[in-house]
C-alpha cells in the first residue's frame, strides 16, 4: 500500500520525519518496504506566465520562453513545445532539489541562459505524463508558490501490508492505525453530495450467486458532463498512490478505493440492458476484457452481467462493452463485497491480478460499502454536472454485526511476558475502533467489522502488545526441563560429514530435482517422483540417487577449469511408493486432513524418502607435490572412503548400469546392502560431460554407515611381534579379498595382522596367474621362536593352498 504523506496529513496531525515514521510504523504495525520521493523535494516552485515563446536559435528541438514570475521576467530554455504566450506554468527555481536527488542549477543551453525549468506533470509528481509542460488555469495567481494550490513534492511510504490486515489497504485505515500508535485523533471526510439524479430503480438488481457475493450496492449518478478530467489534486493522489489517472469517473472510483480500501466499479448506464445480474459464469462463456484479452469462464467464476451478457469478471476486470468512457453521462456505480477465496481462485486460474482483486481476495468488510458509495457519490457530484440518484439498490441479506471478544489481563501478561495495565489495554483497543467493557477484571471488546482478524483473545493480546511496544518485553530464558542432544542417527550424519570434510572432500548441497535425462543417462528404470509444476523441464523429477546432481556439479567444475575434485553430499532421495488402489481414498484423506484411520502413515504418503551419502571423485583429486605423486579418481580411492565410512564392509562384484562393469562393487554392511562403489561407466561419463576424465563414486545409506564405531578394549602383551612376508602365485581370477578373509578366519592362531603389499601379473609370473605378496605380523603370550613362527606361516600357507590353490613364489 502506497501512502502519500501529504494525504495522510489530511487525516491526522503528526510531526515526524519520514525516517521516524518508518521506524515507528515498523516497530508497532507493519513493515515499510520503501520510501519514494516524487516531484520537488526541496526548493521553490512558483507560478509563471509565459510572455514569449519561440524556437531556440541554435537548436532544432529546443524552445526559449520569457516567463513572468510576478514582477520579474526570466528566460527559460525548454524541450516541450506546448506553452504559448499567456499560459500559466509551474516554474521550479534554481537551487531546488528534484526527486532523483539532483539540484537544479542555472544553466546555459546551446548558448542561452536558462533560469529554472518549466515543469511537466511527471516532474511535479502529478502523473506519468511527460508530454508537455503542465498548463495551469487562471485561478493560479502569477508569482505565488504552487504549493499554495497543491503539493509540489511528495514522500510516499510503501507499506508491506500483511494478509490479515485488509483494512490497511486504504488511507483511512492507515490513518486510524497511525492514530492508535500515536494516541491521537484522526478525522475522515464527511461525504455530502447533490441528489435528484435519475433513479437507480430504472434498472434491476438480481444477485443469483449469494454465496459468492455477501453484499452488492448499486447507485446511479446521472447528468455528468462528458469527457471530464479529474481535478489535479485527485489525479496527483492517484498517481502517488501507484495508479494511473484515466478519466473523471474511473479516477473517482480509484480514488475512493485508495481512500477506503473498497474497490468500486462504474458502468455506463446507457449500455446496461435492463439491470445488473450477479451470477456464476456459464460453461464456455467468453468475455473480452479491457486489456483486450478474451477469457473463457466456468461456473466457479463470478460474473457481473446484465440480462444479456457478462460485463465484468467480478472483482477483477470489466469488459470493454459497458465501461465508462469519454462520452459517459450516466453511470451505475457498483460497490460490493465478494467472497475472497473465490476471487483469489479466479485470479489464479486466469493469471490476472489487479489492484481490486488484491483487496477483494483478503476478504473485505461489507459494512464499508455504504461509506465508499457515499464518498464516490460525493466526488462524482463535485464534477461538473453529476447528480446522485435518491435511491440505492442494495443486496445485503445477512448484515455483519460487530462481535465480542474477551481479554483477560493475566492472559495478556502471560503471553507477552510483561505487565499490562488495564487502562492501557482499554485505551489501545478503543483507539483501534473497539468498544470496551469491563466485567470482573476481564475486558470485553466489541470489535468493529473492518477488523475481521480480531476474533480471539490472542488476537487482542497481539494488538495491545504491539501498540504498547514489543521492545518493552524483557529478554528472559525459560528453564528447560530436559536434556538436549542429538539422536544417534543425527550424530552419525554429522560425523559422516565431518569425516569426509577432514579427509579433504568438499560438501555440496544440490537441488534434489532434475531433468528426466538424469534417469535415462544413468540407465535407470523410471521410478521417479515427478513435480506437477516444475520451474522448468530441467527440474521436474525428484532424484533417486545423489549421483546425478554431483556429476553435473563435477562437470561444471571441469568446465570452469578445475583439474579435478572430490564432492560429497548428504541428502534425501525419493521413490514413488504409490498406495494400492484400495488405499487411494484413505491416502488422499490422510494427506488433506491428517486422518489416517488404522493405516500406517508410511503407506499413505506415496513417496518413500531415504537419506543417502554420495561421493564423486573426478579427475586429479589431489595434484602431485614435489615429494608425493598425484591422486587420481579411481575405484580404490573411492573404496578407501567406503572402508572408513562402513568399517568391516564387504565388497561384492556387482554392477549397475552406470558403473564400470569390472570396477564396481556392492557394499555390504553385515547382511544388508549399504550401497555401491565404483568407477563411472565411460559412456555415462560422456553423457554428463565428463569424457576422458576418471570418475569414481559411491553412494551409501546414511543409516548403515558407521563412521565412529564404538571402541572395545582388547588386551595386549608386551612381547616383541615378529614380521614375515610371503609371496604366492595364484590364478588371476581369485579375489584377494577372499584370501585375506580366509587367512583372518583361521582359528586359534598367533597372526595379529595381515596386509597385502604387492599384487603383480606379467612376466615372469606365468600367464593367467598373479603374484600376491602378504605381510604378516605374529605375536604370542611370550616371545615366539623361529620354529613357532615358521609353523604359523605354514598353517596359513596350507589354508591358502587348500582353498585357492596357491603356490609359494620362489
Amino acid at each position: 500500500m502506497r501512502v502519500p504523506l501529504s494525504w495522510l496529513h489530511e487525516y491526522l496531525d503528526f510531526d515526524l520525519r519520514a525516517d521516524e515514521l518508518v521506524d515507528l510504523f515498523s516497530l508497532r504495525s507493519q513493515e515499510i518496504d520503501g520510501v519514494y520521493r516524487l516531484g520537488v523535494i526541496e526548493g521553490e516552485v512558483v507560478i509563471g506566465e509565459v510572455v514569449e515563446f519561440g524556437p531556440h536559435p541554435n537548436a532544432d528541438r529546443l524552445f526559449v520562453a520569457k516567463v513572468d514570475l510576478g514582477g520579474r521576467e526570466v528566460q527559460i530554455v525548454a524541450g516541450a513545445q506546448n506553452p504559448r504566450p499567456g499560459v500559466r506554468v509551474p516554474v521550479v527555481l534554481p537551487g531546488s532539489v528534484m526527486s532523483d536527488g539532483t539540484t537544479l542549477k542555472k544553466a546555459k543551453l546551446r548558448g542561452l541562459e536558462s533560469y529554472g525549468m518549466m515543469m511537466s506533470e511527471r516532474e511535479l509528481g502529478i502523473s506519468a505524463d511527460h508530454g508537455g509542460i503542465l498548463l495551469l488555469d487562471d485561478s493560479h495567481e502569477v508569482g505565488r508558490p504552487v504549493a499554495e494550490y497543491f503539493p509540489v513534492g511528495e514522500t510516499v511510504l510503501d507499506i508491506d501490508v500483511t494478509p490479515n490486515r485488509p483494512d490497511l489497504w486504504g488511507m483511512i485505515g492507515v490513518a486510524r492505525e497511525l492514530a492508535a500508535i500515536l494516541k491521537t485523533e484522526y478525522r475522515i471526510p464527511e461525504p455530502s453530495f447533490a441528489t435528484g439524479g435519475k433513479p437507480t430503480r430504472d434498472f434491476g438488481l438480481r444477485v443469483e450467486a449469494e454465496d459468492l457475493c455477501p453484499r452488492y450496492d448499486l447507485r446511479r449518478i446521472s447528468d455528468l458532463e462528458p469527457g471530464q478530467v479529474a481535478p489535479l489534486w485527485m489525479r496527483r493522489r492517484i498517481y502517488a498512490g501507484g495508479m494511473r489517472p484515466i478519466n473523471a469517473i474511473v479516477d473517482a472510483t480509484n480514488y475512493v478505493m485508495l481512500e477506503t480500501g473498497q474497490p468500486i466499479h462504474a458502468f455506463d448506464a446507457v449500455r446496461v440492458r435492463e439491470g445488473i445480474v450477479v451470477r456464476r459464469g456459464r460453461t464456455r462463456e467468453k468475455i473480452t476484457l479491457l486489456d483486450g484479452s478474451t477469457r473463457v469462464l466456468d461456473e466457479e467464476v463470478l460474473v457481473i452481467a446484465d440480462e444479456e451478457r457478462g460485463l465484468v469478471i467480478a472483482g477483477l476486470m470489466g469488459a470493454e462493452d459497458a465501461e465508462v468512457g469519454e462520452e459517459t453521462t450516466d453511470a451505475l456505480i457498483e460497490v460490493a463485497t465478494f467472497e475472497g477465496r473465490n476471487i483469489l481462485q479466479t485470479s489464479q486460474k486466469l493469471g490476472l491480478r489487479t489492484d481490486a482483486s488484491g483487496r477483494f481476495e483478503r476478504g473485505l468488510d461489507p459494512n464499508m460499502v455504504a461509506y465508499a458509495m457515499d464518498r464516490v457519490s460525493a466526488l462524482l457530484t463535485q464534477a461538473p454536472g453529476g447528480r446522485s440518484a435518491d435511491d440505492t439498490l442494495s443486496h445485503y441479506p445477512e448484515p455483519v454485526e460487530p462481535w465480542r471478544v474477551p481479554l483477560r489481563l493475566g492472559r495478556a501478561e502471560l503471553l507477552l511476558g510483561m505487565p499490562v495495565q488495564m487502562e492501557e489495554a482499554v485505551e489501545r483497543l478503543e483507539a483501534l475502533g473497539c468498544e470496551v467493557e469491563r466485567e470482573d477484571g476481564e475486558l470485553w471488546a466489541t470489535v468493529p467489522t473492518f477488523r475481521r482478524d480480531l476474533r480471539r483473545e490472542a488476537d487482542l493480546v497481539e494488538e495491545v502488545g504491539r501498540l504498547i511496544g514489543l521492545d518493552r518485553v524483557p529478554e528472559t530464558l525459560p528453564a528447560v526441563p530436559q536434556t538436549g542432544g542429538l539422536t544417534e542417527g543425527q550424530q552419525r550424519t554429522r560425523l559422516l560429514r565431518r569425516l569426509l570434510a577432514d579427509l579433504g572432500l568438499s560438501e555440496a548441497i544440490t537441488y534434489p530435482f532434475g531433468p528426466e535425462r538424469w534417469t535415462e543417462d544413468l540407465g535407470l528404470e523410471d521410478g521417479t517422483v515427478r513435480l506437477e509444476n516444475p520451474l522448468s523441464a530441467e527440474g521436474g523429477h525428484l532424484r533417486t540417487s545423489i549421483l546425478p546432481g554431483l556429476l553435473d556439479a563435477t562437470a561444471r567444475n571441469r568446465a570452469f577449469g578445475a583439474r579435478g575434485g572430490a564432492l560429497f553430499e548428504v541428502g534425501n532421495v525419493f521413490f514413488a511408493d504409490v498406495p494400492q488402489d484400495e488405499l487411494r481414498e484413505a491416502a488422499l484423506r490422510f494427506r488433506m486432513t491428517g486422518e489416517r484411520g488404522v493405516q500406517e502413515a508410511g503407506r499413505l504418503m506415496g513417496v518413500r524418502e531415504v537419506s543417502r551419502i554420495g561421493v564423486v571423485l573426478g579427475g586429479t583429486v589431489r595434484p602431485a607435490g614435489w615429494n608425493v605423486p598425484e591422486v587420481r579418481a579411481g575405484f580404490f580411492e573411492a573404496k578407501g572412503l567406503v572402508e572408513r565410512l562402513v568399517p568391516g564392509a564387504r565388497f561384492v562384484p556387482a554392477t549397475r548400469p552406470y558403473l564400470h562393469p569390472g570396477r564396481s562393487a556392492a557394499v555390504l554392511a553385515g547382511d544388508k546392502e549399504a550401497g555401491w562403489v565404483g568407477e563411472l561407466h565411460p559412456e555415462v561419463a560422456g553423457r554428463f560431460g565428463l569424457d576422458g576424465w576418471p570418475v569414481a563414486a559411491l553412494e551409501l545409506d546414511t543409516a548403515l554407515c558407521q563412521p565412529a564405531p564404538e571402541p572395545r578394549f582388547e588386551p595386549f602383551v608386551n612381547v616383541p611381534a615378529v614380521a614375515r612376508d610371503l609371496a604366492v602365485l595364484v590364478e588371476e581370477r581369485i579375489p584377494v579379498g577372499d584370501m585375506l578373509r580366509s587367512v583372518r578366519d583361521l582359528p586359534g592362531q598367533l597372526l595379529t595382522e595381515v596386509r597385502v603389499f604387492d599384487v603383480y601379473a606379467g612376466s615372469p609370473v606365468p600367464p593367467g596367474q598373479k603374484s600376491v605378496a602378504f605381510g604378516f605380523t605374529f605375536q604370542g603370550g611370550k616371545t615366539l621362536t623361529d620354529e613357532e613362527v615358521d609353523a604359523e606361516v605354514w598353517r596359513v600357507l596350507s589354508r591358502l593352498e587348500d582353498e585357492f590353490g596357491v603356490r609359494v613364489r620362489s
Binding site: 497481539e462 518485553v473 525459560p478 530436559q482 538436549g484 506437477e532 553435473d552
Partner: protein
C-alpha cells in the same frame, strides 16, 4: 734405547696421532696401530714375562699407564670427533624448509551446514532436541494444520511445488511442529533443520533453501522467553555485542507474531554506507511468535494450560550475511571455487 724409553716414545707418538685423528675411522686405525693385537706396546706387554722381576714391575706399570693414557685420549678424542661428525652430517641433511610439506588437505563443510550445526549446537546446549521430517509433505501438515486451509490467501504467498494429490514439497519446516506435537506430550523443546522448497528463482531466492524451525511448548512460556532465547542465539551466532529487536508481523500459526532483526554485527548501525546492513543498522533475521491457540488445539494440547513459542530462520541467508556472499544461487551449484572458501 731402553724399553721404558721406547714406551714413552710410543705413548707420545700415539697421543700425537690421536690428537690429529680427524674421523672416527682414523681413530679406529690409531687404536689398532697402538693398542691392537700386534701393536708394539701390546708386544711389549706380552714379553713382560721374560723380564727380570724388577724390570717386570717397572715395564708392566709403565706400559699399562701408557695404554690407559692412550685409551683415555682416544676416548675423549672420539667423542669430539663424533660430535663434529654428527654436526657435519646434520648440516648435510639440511632441507629447504620453505618447500611445502606433505599434503594432508582439508576439505570443506557447506556454509549453510556450518550455520545449521552452529545453531543446533546452541539449542542443544539449552536443552532442545532435534527433529527432522520428510521433504515431500502432506497438504495437511504443510498448510491446514498450521492454520492455512485450502483456499486461504496465505497459500499464494508460498509458491508451492506440487507432487501429487495432497502432496507438496514442503514450503517450510513448520510441519515438523505438528509432527512433533502429535508424537509427544508437552514439554516440547525442539529445533527442526531441513531443506524447504518454493517455486521461485532469482539472486535472492532459489527453489530450494534451508530453514531451521524451533518450537517450545510448556507451562508459562512467554514472548519474553522467545526474545531471550533468540537474543542469546543471535549473540552465539553473530558475536557477543549484537542486539535484537522484534517487530509485529503475521504468520498463520503464531499469535502474536513477530519478526526479529539483529543489530548489524559489522558496523553496529554506525556506518551509513555499511555493505552488510546497507546503513539500516538492522538485519532482518527470522519470523517467530507465540504458538497460535488453534494450532495447540489441533494437536490436542490445552491452550489454557500450555503456551509456546515458535520461530523459523533461514540459515542460508544467515550464512550470506555472516560470510558476505552476495548471491544465494552460489550455495547450490557445487562449485568448488565457492565451497573451498568455507
Amino acid at each position: 734405547m731402553t724399553v721404558s724409553e721406547r714406551i714413552e716414545q710410543l705413548k707420545s707418538e700415539a697421543l700425537s696421532a690421536v690428537a690429529s685423528g680427524a674421523s672416527t675411522a682414523d681413530l679406529e686405525d690409531i687404536r689398532v696401530r697402538f693398542l691392537g693385537r700386534s701393536a708394539e706396546l701390546t708386544e711389549i706387554k706380552k714379553s713382560i714375562g721374560t723380564l727380570s722381576p724388577d724390570e717386570r714391575k717397572e715395564i708392566g706399570r709403565s706400559s699399562n699407564l701408557a695404554s690407559r693414557e692412550i685409551e683415555a685420549a682416544l676416548g675423549s678424542r672420539a667423542e669430539e670427533v663424533a660430535a663434529r661428525e654428527q654436526e657435519e652430517r646434520l648440516q648435510a641433511e639440511a632441507a629447504d624448509v620453505t618447500l611445502p610439506g606433505v599434503p594432508f588437505p582439508r576439505g570443506h563443510l557447506h556454509p549453510s551446514q556450518i550455520v545449521i550445526d552452529d545453531v543446533i549446537d546452541f539449542f542443544v546446549g539449552l536443552g532442545y532436541r532435534v527433529a527432522e521430517g520428510p521433504e515431500v509433505e502432506t497438504d495437511y501438515y504443510n498448510f491446514t494444520a498450521l492454520g492455512i486451509p485450502p483456499g486461504h490467501p496465505a497459500r499464494t504467498m508460498q509458491d508451492t511445488f506440487f507432487v501429487d494429490d495432497g502432496l507438496v514439497l514442503r514450503t517450510q519446516t513448520s510441519p515438523m511442529q505438528i509432527r512433533t506435537m502429535l508424537a509427544q506430550e508437552p514439554p516440547v523443546y525442539v529445533v527442526c533443520p531441513g531443506r524447504t522448497y518454493r517455486r521461485d528463482s532469482d539472486p535472492t531466492h532459489t527453489p530450494m533453501f534451508h530453514q531451521i524451525e524451533g518450537l517450545a511448548v510448556d507451562r508459562g512460556l512467554t514472548l519474553g522467553h522467545l526474545k531471550g532465547t533468540l537474543g542469546a542465539m543471535a549473540r552465539h551466532v553473530f558475536g557477543e555485542g549484537v542486539e535484537i529487536r522484534v517487530r509485529p508481523s503475521y504468520f498463520q500459526f503464531t499469535e502474536p507474531s513477530v519478526e526479529m532483526d539483529v543489530s548489524c554485527f559489522v558496523c553496529g548501525g554506525r556506518d551509513p554506507h555499511c555493505k552488510v546492513c546497507k546503513g539500516a543498522g538492522w538485519l532482518e533475521m527470522l519470523g517467530a511468535g507465540m504458538v497460535d491457540p488453534g494450532v495447540l488445539e489441533e494437536v490436542g494440547y490445552d491452550p489454557e494450560e500450555y503456551t509456546g513459542y515458535a520461530f523459523g530462520m533461514g540459515p542460508d541467508r544467515m550464512a550470506m550475511v555472516k560470510y558476505g556472499v552476495p548471491d544465494l544461487r552460489l550455495f547450490f551449484e557445487g562449485d568448488l571455487r565457492f565451497l573451498r572458501q568455507f
